[in-house]
């Protein structure tokens, strides 16, 4: 087995909020043409018919207010530009139109095309260029947060395309329950920032199994003591709020929260793992965003195998049913480990959030059923060496890197 996989004992997933790939990492194409980012062809028509280019004018806060619509009908407009005919093709030409609908202000609507330059995002840009950045990681659903996060926990949203209550239908179990009920047992935990920020996985997990949860301070302590579970899912702080230690700034990067606070948070997760030498060599960290938040990306979401559920025309709000047979908009995703060659760009394979439980299950449990059709067909980002696709192993170095950056 390659030494990186041989050493791998812990997988950590940090899921941030509502930013598209082009918005956060698209400018990296200028540094590395293999990264599928912004080009001169990255444009959208505004409501006057003028072609508006993507521009490097994104600001840390105060620009995307109101929060760009990212519910199912709005995302459908963003992807298909209002085409509702049978056999329609995704063009990614409806982003400005969609944002215009919220304020009826042409100038303001063009801000949906703004993106960050790497110097503004030193943490995310460094991680993307130092480790493995995914050219094709898509949200699981062209819709909002809750249903997309469900794919990371269950490999399905059980037919939901919205923010409403979502109930687990047997036989599909959460990745946490699969691990803790396995023989031999594995360990798994969700770390929310604090009890004031809490989790987005309330209805099924927090309500019924609060023992699965810890705070971010516990995550830091567990990293420090070497007590990290086999699988950890980390949630950022979702709100500006006061705490015993003072003012806590939202770190989720959800518009209109401060982007730099999110940068600090990503760095703190990375540093906590890296500062424990044993943990650093035995951990893979995935930083990924739940969905694009209504912000421009140029890559059309591909079709995918249907999930066995159907959302009714009433549920989608588009007048059309949805069979979960197309992915959402592309999001940033970076896999981090000292066993990954610097500057890796993962291309040619399509990932989505169902890839998370698919990978964790495959790595820790091997063959497992039942799983949702989407999860069963999802690409995995850590190939166990015994698998026939070992060539896809990203932790491929023969010896561990010693040149990985530190954040201060």
């Amino acid at each position: 087995m390659p030494p990186g996989l041989d050493n791998l004992k812990h997988i950590v997933v940090l899921m941030m909020e509502n930013r598209s790939f082009d918005h956060m990492l698209g400018a990296l194409k200028a540094q590395n043409p293999r990264i599928d980012g912004i080009t001169d062809q990255s444009t959208n028509p505004d409501t006057t018919g003028a072609q508006i280019k993507a521009q490097p004018l994104a600001e840390f806060q105060g620009q995307l207010d109101p929060d760009p619509d990212h519910h199912f009908p709005a995302v459908d407009l963003q992807i298909f530009n209002g085409d509702t005919t049978a056999g329609r093709a995704p063009t990614m030409q409806g982003f400005i139109k969609s944002y215009f609908n919220q304020q009826r202000n042409v100038t303001h609507s063009q801000k949906i095309m703004y993106y960050f330059t790497p110097d503004k995002l030193p943490v995310l840009s460094t991680l993307a260029t130092e480790f493995a950045v995914f050219n094709r990681w898509f949200a699981s659903i062209p819709g909002p947060t809750i249903c997309n996060r469900a794919f990371a926990h269950y490999g399905t949203s059980f037919g939901r395309v919205d923010m409403n209550l979502l109930y687990v239908n047997e036989p599909f179990k959460s990745i946490y329950n699969r691990l803790i009920s396995a023989n031999p047992k594995h360990t798994a935990k969700l770390y929310y920032y604090d009890q004031t920020s809490s989790t987005m996985e309330i209805t099924n997990l927090l309500q019924n199994q609060p023992e699965l949860f810890g705070t971010f301070q516990q995550f830091l302590d567990d990293c420090d003591k070497g007590d990290l579970p086999d699988y950890s899912f980390v949630e950022p702080n979702y709100s500006d709020h006061d705490s015993d230690v003072g003012e806590e700034l939202a770190s989720d990067q959800h518009p209109d929260h401060n982007i730099q606070a999110g940068e600090q948070f990503v760095a703190s997760v990375y540093n906590a793992i890296k500062q424990n030498a044993d943990l650093w060599k035995s951990t893979a960290l995935l930083v990924v965003y739940d969905e694009h938040g209504g912000i421009y990306d140029h890559v059309p979401p591909p079709p995918c195998p249907p999930d066995g559920f159907t959302a009714s025309p009433n549920d989608t709000g588009t007048g059309m049913e949805f069979k979960f047979d197309r992915l959402g908009v592309r999001v940033p995703a970076i896999l981090i480990s000292p066993w990954i060659p610097k500057g890796t760009v993962v291309d040619g394979r399509i990932f989505e959030h169902a890839s998370i439980p698919a990978t964790i299950t495959k790595f820790f449990l091997g063959d497992y059923s039942p799983r949702s059709p989407r999860e069963a067909s999802a690409e995995i980002f850590l190939e166990p060496a015994a698998q026939p696709n070992a060539a896809n192993n990203l932790l491929s170095l023969a010896s561990m890197r010693t040149d990985c950056p530190d954040f201060a």
Partner: protein, 118 residues
Amino acid sequence: MTVIRVPVPAKNSFNPDRPVSGLLKAQILHLQDAEKRLPLDLRSNLYINAIKTEGEAADYIRQVTEAIHEAHIDPVRRRAKHRRKARPSIQIAAAADERSVRQTKKKVARKQPAQKKA
């Protein structure tokens, strides 16, 4: 080894008075649904439609999250914890007594000059 400096957000970024987002609204609704299943003594009794800001949302989210954890503590421990929690009300009662003593003293103090006049 390269050390990357991470910029600090502007000091005026903190805004708990920001209107509550769609995401937080959904989180509140999910917590309210969970709250309906909690024992009566652990419910917040807060009216969620009155929550308008992130700070107010955060307060509700904390109360219900703590209550969910509390509800899963075994009954014996929870009763014991509740007895410990009951102290603040005694302190309030004590404080109330203290205030009434102070008020009494004030009344007495007010009366004293009159007595002197007399």
